[in-house]
């Protein structure tokens, strides 16, 4: 019996497409670096204004031991502060969500504080607690706390009326309702706040170091700029970008593990 052969897309085709998806952004970044290098050389831009990528790379390698040492300082401040902000922010969001009293007292205060550029507290904290590790943590906690708490309130108040009625009709107590329905339902919105905070975390740590410190990438970049060493400054900037991406990757990983049912039907964003 004659059969019509339908050409099947081979697996190689699929693999090529996946590779292409990774290759495109890498090629784009490489093109920008090449153009950057070319422009600096062509127009003879002085090093103290903008160094070429090759000079930045040289400094990155030469100063790597110090950059790495300071990355660990800034990274620790970022992650510890971020962790504490989650630890305080999520339960606080829950408390405000379930307590009408807190919603009338604490919530307006929190919204007002959210409007203040919180980094202004950095010099205050440093004058109170000195140049060490602790005031940096406090600044990071402060800049991360609000997005986490405010999204937490939203997360814990947006359960649909019908779902709440279903819970009531089962006769389940508040604890069981919380762990079986409310908490899992709140996770996606909680992660919106946690992701916003992740972006703030490195900013908070770096600027706090900038304002008063004797270690960390924020301290180092201030020194480098003070000596017109833009090549070192840019090497630090690239390291900070890597640190920021690392923190964001951690959050994405946690999201994948905790709410696979939610992430599974999202369009890939290229991150995580």
């Amino acid at each position: 019996m004659a059969r019509i052969r339908v050409p099947q897309p081979s697996l190689g085709w699929l693999r090529a497409q996946t590779a292409g998806r990774l290759l495109t952004p890498v090629l784009f970044a490489a093109a920008i670096l090449v153009a950057w290098e070319a422009i600096i050389r062509l127009f003879k831009v002085p090093m103290y204004i903008l160094p070429p990528p090759s000079a930045i790379l040289v400094q990155f390698v030469m100063k790597f031991p110090l950059i790495w040492q300071y990355t660990l300082v800034t990274g620790q401040e970022t992650l510890v502060g971020f962790g504490f902000a989650i630890l305080f922010g999520v339960p606080m969001g829950l408390l405000v969500a379930i307590s009408p009293f807190l919603r009338r007292t604490f919530y307006p205060l929190a919204v007002t504080l959210e409007m203040v550029p919180k980094i202004v507290f950095a010099p205050v904290f440093i004058s109170w607690w000195g140049l060490g590790f602790a005031p940096k943590i406090y600044v990071v906690v402060l800049v991360c706390f609000f997005p986490i708490m405010l999204n937490g309130i939203l997360a814990f108040t947006s359960l649909s009326l019908d779902l709440r009625r279903f819970c009531l009709s089962t006769g389940a107590g508040p604890l069981r309702t919380f762990f079986k329905v409310q908490l899992p339902a709140a996770l996606p919105q909680l992660f919106v706040g946690i992701k916003a905070a992740a972006v703030n975390a490195t900013v908070g740590a770096t600027i706090a170091e900038w304002i008063g410190s004797d270690a960390g990438l924020g301290f180092y970049i201030q020194q480098a700029v003070g000596q017109y060493r833009m090549d070192i400054a840019f090497a630090i900037i690239f390291m900070l970008a890597a640190l920021g991406l690392f923190v964001f990757w951690l959050v994405n990983l946690a999201e994948h593990l905790l709410i696979p049912w939610h992430i599974s039907h999202r369009i890939p964003t290229g991150l995580g």
Binding site: C167, R176, T177, I259, W261
Partner: protein, 255 residues
């Protein structure tokens, strides 16, 4: 086991800026155990309000409601409810969503797993047992919601326009599924709908409710053979019942 529902002088009035707005009643209704009773009325007549009041999920302004002889003063728990909206949770598959009913009640999962699989099979969802809601069609989601309302074998089942959000063909399929599920156990069912055909097809009795404030204007016995096959639905008796009820709504100017 199955339960009776008794409604005496029930009323619902909402407070608004312009004073009290009567939404429903006063109305009286006795529902005998094991009957499938539909509440039919135009949008806003308060039929869903009445259902929520029977479930103890909405306070009544006046009157008494009792289920199995006991007054309803708090959310009823010996009940299975199918809500208007989709109340499946995204993070659980079909089986998990059905078992949520069991877990929320603190019952043992293993005692109900067998029954859950039987229910899933009875609505043709076996291949989708481990699919999550976003992988299901609207009809499949609603079938899952039926199973969740039935898994704990409640003596009373309340359904609030469960087929309202579905397309015409899926609706038709689900009516058949619903009748089959009911015929297997014959629990008391109160079914809210604004589709007259649907009410006549499924019910032993259709309670016709007037536009706001909703009052009972007619109680129509549907004494047709079950299951209500296409032949039954095309019969003169069926069409006559549908026509009679339509006539009532025409009188109110809502059709």
């Amino acid at each position: 086991m199955t339960e009776s529902v008794s409604i005496r002088g029930a009323e619902k009035t909402y407070q608004s800026k312009h004073g009290p707005v009567p939404a429903l009643g006063p109305l009286d209704l006795e529902i005998e155990p094991g009957r499938f009773v539909s509440l039919v009325g135009p949008s806003g007549c308060g039929k869903s309000t009445l259902l929520l009041m029977i479930a103890g999920l909405l306070e009544r302004s006046l009157g008494d409601i009792s289920v199995a002889g006991l007054p309803v003063n708090r959310p009823l728990t010996n009940v299975g409810i199918v809500f208007q909206g989709n109340v499946l949770v995204d993070w659980r598959d079909v089986l998990g969503n059905i078992m949520l009913q069991i877990e929320m009640r603190g019952l043992k999962r293993q005692d109900y797993t067998q029954r859950a699989h039987e229910l899933i099979a009875s609505v043709g969802l076996t291949p989708f047992t481990h699919r999550h809601p976003h992988e299901l069609s609207g009809g499949m989601q609603q079938r899952t919601a039926f199973c969740r309302a039935l898994i704990h074998d409640p003596p009373l089942i309340l359904m609030d326009e469960p087929l309202g959000a579905l397309d015409a063909m899926t609706r038709e399929q689900l009516r058949g599924d619903l009748e089959a599920l009911w015929l297997a156990k014959r629990k008391t069912v109160i079914f809210v709908t604004h589709s007259i055909e649907e009410a006549v097809q499924l019910s032993d009795e259709v309670v016709v409710i007037s536009p706001r404030p909703g009052k009972i204007v007619r109680r129509v016995e549907v004494d047709l053979p079950r299951p209500r096959t296409l032949a039954v639905r095309q019969s003169a008796e069926f069409q006559e019942l549908v026509g009679d009820i339509k006539q009532i709504f025409l009188g109110y100017g809502v059709l």
